[in-house]
């Protein structure tokens, strides 16, 4: 082991590789900040580069992009309430409120630190615990996955405080939106209203960016339009102006005390993100929302969530970023790509002539050790470079909204198009934005809708697979101890939360 570790050190820390990692992080942060564009897409575009670069340099570049993109999405999420990547949608909930309250920098720093902590932990788990975790992940079959999805839906419906009924209605709407298109099990068309372009269903990026980002943009645009036509400045406008006028950058610095206060949320996010990331097919946005929900439940300041809580930012961002290392676990352990990103890394390995799977580490020890080292130190580069870049990006965010908003809109439209090369995605984006606005003005919470949308396809597939395997016997769903455990935990959590909430009232 040691004899290949030394050359791996030289490989990983050669100036060329470090430079490529830095370039990757820069690209990732910048592209991730553009709504619709994500690290995945940049990796897909740059994939052929592995034909031309040394393996370590190519992997360094791809790793840098990936990690940068993970954090980059939260920049626009916090600055404009417009999540740059699907994973950062949960970050936008509290991050944007924090910005409106006048501490964007604190929120950005919290996001950066929790992202790096989550990511680094997840990388260590990948390096040292890949095999045991992968074996646990394999025990997740349809029955267990259905229990997990049911667990997350229950957790989320409990997440909306006060207007539970509206939250549940939104979750149902999200499920319905996810059902559009070809039924993945039977092959028949559902809810396409005779539009053949909807046969493939609605893609995640346009729906998510539309519902969260475009609707926010529309509301801000309408405010900008109002400023244009009315000379009478209303109270809120005055307040917002004075806020920016009084914005004191020296006060908007994250103190150590505040940082420490977010640690619990960061660790909840890190744990959930790492575990969910290791499950094939679950995804980073689900991890972010579950982490957010759990952190809210376990926080002593749960009421502050949704109003600019730094803990909320930390939990969501840690949960999102902590999937980044562990999502590669099934790939390294069994050659199973568990997510879109893992599939792209798998393709990169194949293009380099390395077959993903358990043999990878034995057949290409040096390169893989070098990759492990890169995975770790890329986080430090991400931390340093992002701290250097953030002031510049914050300045961009300070450009007058009447000028900036159209640019962000155009970027969102083109970015969404580029993510799937699909014109339909652009229409979906715009109409999802319209739907998001209508729901916002009628005070419907948007998070449950997105959760329903994310969870429904997996939940439906898992349930129908379970019933096929169990020959239609519903008791088959309870034939797994993991599933029973998940249902029990869900029941206990809901019971305690309702009891605790009663007592507080």
């Amino acid at each position: 082991m040691l004899e290949s570790f030394i050359p791996a050190l030289y490989l990983a820390f050669s100036p060329e590789v470090i430079l490529y990692v830095a370039i990757g992080v820069f690209m990732g942060v910048t592209l991730g900040a553009i709504p619709g564009l994500s690290g995945d897409m940049a990796i897909a575009i740059l994939l052929p580069i592995v034909f031309f670069l040394e393996p370590a340099a190519a992997l360094g570049l791809l790793t840098g992009i990936y990690k940068g993109g993970m954090f980059g999405g939260s920049i626009s999420a916090i600055s404009f309430g417009v999540p740059g990547t699907p994973g950062s949608a949960a970050t936008a909930i509290d991050g944007y409120q924090a910005k409106l309250k006048g501490y964007p920098n604190k929120a950005l720093m919290t996001a950066l630190y929790s992202s790096v902590i989550g990511d680094t932990t997840s990388d260590f788990v990948l390096i040292f615990l890949a095999l045991p975790l992968a074996i646990v992940a394999l025990t997740f079959g349809p029955i267990e996955f259905f229990a997990l999805y049911a667990f997350s839906l229950l957790l989320i419906s409990a997440l909306t405080k006060g207007k539970v009924a509206k939250g549940v209605a939104m979750a149902a709407l999200g499920i319905l939106l996810a059902m559009i298109g070809r039924d993945p099990m039977g092959g028949s068309l559902r809810l396409t209203f005779g539009i053949p372009e909807l046969a493939g269903g609605l893609a995640l990026i346009p729906v998510l960016v539309g519902i969260f980002a475009v609707s926010e943009l529309i509301i801000q645009l309408s405010k900008a339009w109002m400023d244009r036509v009315t000379r009478i400045i209303d109270d809120t406008k005055q307040k917002a102006d004075s806020l920016l006028g009084d914005y004191d950058a020296s006060k908007d610095k994250l103190t150590f005390r505040e940082f420490r206060a977010t640690m619990k949320a960061t660790w909840i996010g890190t744990t959930m993100g790492t575990l969910i990331g290791a499950l094939p097919g679950a995804g980073s946005s689900l991890a972010a929302f579950i982490s957010y929900g759990l952190a809210q439940r376990f926080s002593s300041n749960g009421k502050e969530f949704g109003k600019g809580s730094l803990e909320g930012v930390a939990a969501a961002e840690a949960g999102n970023s902590a999937t980044s290392g562990s999502t590669l676990i099934p790939l390294f352990a069994f050659g199973i790509p568990g997510s879109a990103t893992a599939a792209l890394f798998g393709a990169a390995f194949i293009l380099m002539g390395m077959t993903p799977g358990p043999r990878l580490i034995y057949d290409h020890t040096e390169v893989i050790y070098a990759l492990f080292l890169i995975l770790i130190y890329a986080n430090l580069i991400n931390l340093g470079l992002s701290q250097f870049l953030l002031p510049f990006y914050s300045k961009i965010a300070m450009i007058k909204s009447r000028i900036l908003l159209p640019i962000v809109c155009v970027l969102a439209i083109l970015g969404t198009f580029a993510a799937g090369n699909s014109v339909i995605d652009v229409w979906v984006l715009l109409f999802a934005g319209l739907l998001g606005v209508v729901l916002r003005v009628y005070n419907f919470p948007l998070a449950p809708l997105i959760l329903g949308f994310i969870v429904a396809p997996g939940a439906e597939r898992a349930l129908r697979q379970s019933l096929l395997i169990g020959r239609g016997d519903w008791m088959h769903l309870l034939s797994s101890p993991i599933a029973i455990g998940l249902y029990t935990v869900a029941a206990i959590m809901i019971l305690t939360f309702t009891l605790v909430l009663r007592e507080k009232k």
Partner: protein, 325 residues
């Protein structure tokens, strides 16, 4: 869609040239302009067709002239890619790289405004041989085991496959209609899920393509039962075909470059020649071996014969199971 760093200068030069001049500059013989070629794949990035197409996009510019981009368009279950190629100018610059699913099967079962005759193959990369596999500690280890178990207790064996009527599902349908066996079909989200369900012991059998399991089969971590092909797969030399076992079920999946039929014949011929030349080059052969793509190029004429045969056989299967009349 792709932009390789080493070719940046050339790409910019090409693009600038394309902007000022419309006339091609690459020799009088080339019917292509200097605009990039686009190989459109109707799947997400990172899969087998993507990787194979990239071998061509990395090697062919030298022989064909313009830069080659691989564009992944998985929207509307691949139909968006098909429509994009169909609506593009018929100058040979926009080509589809696909297996028979999005063209042949979709042409039958989906409500599309084109027919199978609106397409002409430019060349064929390879033939993928659908392979049935399981875990090594499963009681079923051979085709005979499977048939015996299915006859003893019909409808008891769970069989995982990707989306219904796809290239790793139709062979199972064909096999069942040939033998009268019954299995429980469990659709999954793709090869990765099928494999984790098999390795986790949640289902019995699954179907995939040889390249994705070859190294695990060699290492004894998975067992390949048999391939639905006329001859054994080069990647799985020890795995028998179903024909060897006495079941004449053969349904390989080709991966073709397809143009619309209104692309001029000399353009198709030029593309075929330069693609074949590029794939025969030592760099391409080395790359193909490295990525395990098993590329065995087949010219336009032979590909067309294969295409038409597939259109017929898929039509028969679909009529058989009542998907179409």
């Amino acid at each position: 869609m792709f932009h390789n760093i080493p070719t940046r200068k050339r790409a910019v030069a090409t693009a600038v040239a394309a902007m000022v001049a419309i006339a091609p500059t690459l020799g009088a013989a080339s019917p292509l302009s200097n605009d990039p070629l686009r190989l459109v794949i109707p799947f997400g990035p990172g899969g087998g067709s993507d990787i194979t197409a990239r071998v061509l996009s990395a090697t062919a510019p030298e022989f064909c002239g313009p830069r080659i981009d691989v564009v992944s368009m998985s929207g509307a279950a691949g139909l968006e890619a098909v429509n994009f190629v169909r609506n593009a100018e018929p100058n040979g610059h926009t080509l589809l790289v696909t297996d028979y699913g999005p063209i042949v099967t979709s042409g039958y079962v989906d409500d599309v405004d084109w027919s199978h005759d609106d397409w002409q193959p430019v060349m064929n990369f390879t033939e993928w041989l659908p392979t049935v596999y399981t875990r090594p500690d499963h009681p079923i280890q051979t085709i005979e085991d499977w048939v015996a178990a299915a006859e003893a207790d019909p409808g008891s064996i769970t069989f995982g496959h990707a989306s219904p009527l796809g290239i790793v599902h139709l062979p199972l349908v064909l096999f069942e209609s040939a033998t009268g066996l019954e299995n429980i079909h469990v659709p999954t989200s793709g090869g990765g899920e099928t494999r984790s369900l098999i390795m986790g012991g949640h289902i019995d059998l699954g179907m995939t393509l040889p390249a994705s399991i070859a190294s695990e089969v060699a290492a004894g971590e998975l067992t390949a039962l048999g391939v639905f092909a006329a001859e054994r797969s080069a990647a799985l030399p020890d795995t028998p075909t179903f024909r060897e076992a006495g079941y004449d079920v053969v349904l390989p999946a080709w991966l073709m470059i397809i143009a619309t039929s209104d692309v001029p014949a000399e353009t198709v011929e030029f593309l075929q020649d330069c693609f074949m030349e590029a794939l025969a080059s030592p760099t391409a052969v080395a790359m193909s071996n490295r990525v395990n793509a098993g590329i065995e190029p087949m010219n336009s004429e032979d590909s067309t014969v294969l295409y038409q045969a597939t259109v017929e056989s898929i039509g028969n299967i679909l009529r058989d199971i009542g998907e179409i009349d």
